[in-house]
Amino acid sequence: MSEADALRLHPRIRYRAVGDELGVLIHLERGTVVTMNAQAARTLGLIAELGSRAAVVAAVAAEHDLAAAQVDADLEPFLAELRQQEILR
């Protein structure tokens, strides 16, 4: 896994699924709370588990029966928002 491919969550975040529909995240360093839909919560779990953009894209593509290239492009705004909120390092 290259450095560019690596996805690392900020060590001071905690997150939890809430039922099947939502997730909630607390950023302990920034003092923010984030709620998210099920897809975002699932993807956050994949990032924590797999740690690689390529692996996360492959997993999401397989789950939704989509082309990896399309998922990779669609995922970018979400990853950008995670970076902006310092959820991703």
Binding site: R16, G31, N37, V71, E81
Partner: protein, 325 residues
Amino acid sequence: MRDAWLLTDSAMPTVDAGVTSPGWARQPWPRDARCWGTECFALALAGMRFRLSGLSAVQRQALHATYGAYVAAPAADQAWTLETLVLRARRDLLRAQRPADLAVHPLVLARAKDRLRIAGDDLRAELPLEGRAPARLWIADELAIADRTVSENYLRVAAAYGALARGGLLLHSAGVVIDGRAHLFVGISGAGKTTLARKALAAGLAVLGDDINAAMPAADGWRTFALPFAGELGAHACAPAACYPLASVHLLEPFRETAVLALAHERRLLALIVAAPFVNTDGDRLAALAHNADALARALPMRRLRSRRDDPFAAIAAVLPQEAS
């Protein structure tokens, strides 16, 4: 699936303490085990008992003068009780171990194994988060216990963790009673809680509190409790030790016109978590916090209330849905 990922975020208020200083938790800590005396004083807060022991007679009298409306009945019932030993500490010791974050926050919290350490300018405390061990509260001056910055600050944290463990939440909110049922108006500092509470008082309504109220699950629904935690309105303007069925929760927002708007479930969760002091900065309590907030958000009507600063409470009541009017 470009729009498949949705995030909604909000900043938490910074006026409260946070579990923000993990390094500080490893600093030296008061070890003195000497009590001030043999007296005790028990408060009933949100259906929980908080029993302070090791007090001198003067300290017990001082606590009674401050929290007399909240004296707990004898422990014949099965109410959960937090025992707290009040211990002596040297003033120079408290000052020497002063966390740097106290320059910003009135309290600093830090986890130390299975305990929560609490520091304020004139107090140190340890709250057990597991098991039945007593909590410990160190103060340097005998009468500091009567100072609200000591006893109230300690009890706020203890009540927040106690409520969370019992399925409830302490919420930054104004609590107003309409036709025998309570309505909570949650909001961060500056959202207008005290202003709304003042308007409700002027309209002849009972106000539970203008800063922090408790929402607790009960067999017949959710209930809310007045707490002796004074906001700007002051403790004496509020209904002491009162308990009412909870009818609705509104997220309070100052605005140029008064209106009630729908609130999506993820925003309800967000509002409740942001409004839950202390525990919302403890990552180890996120599961319980999310669970309790989810339960409350599903059980009760919860909306956004935009309120114009100059409108009287009658104008607000007029736009509240039926269960709130």
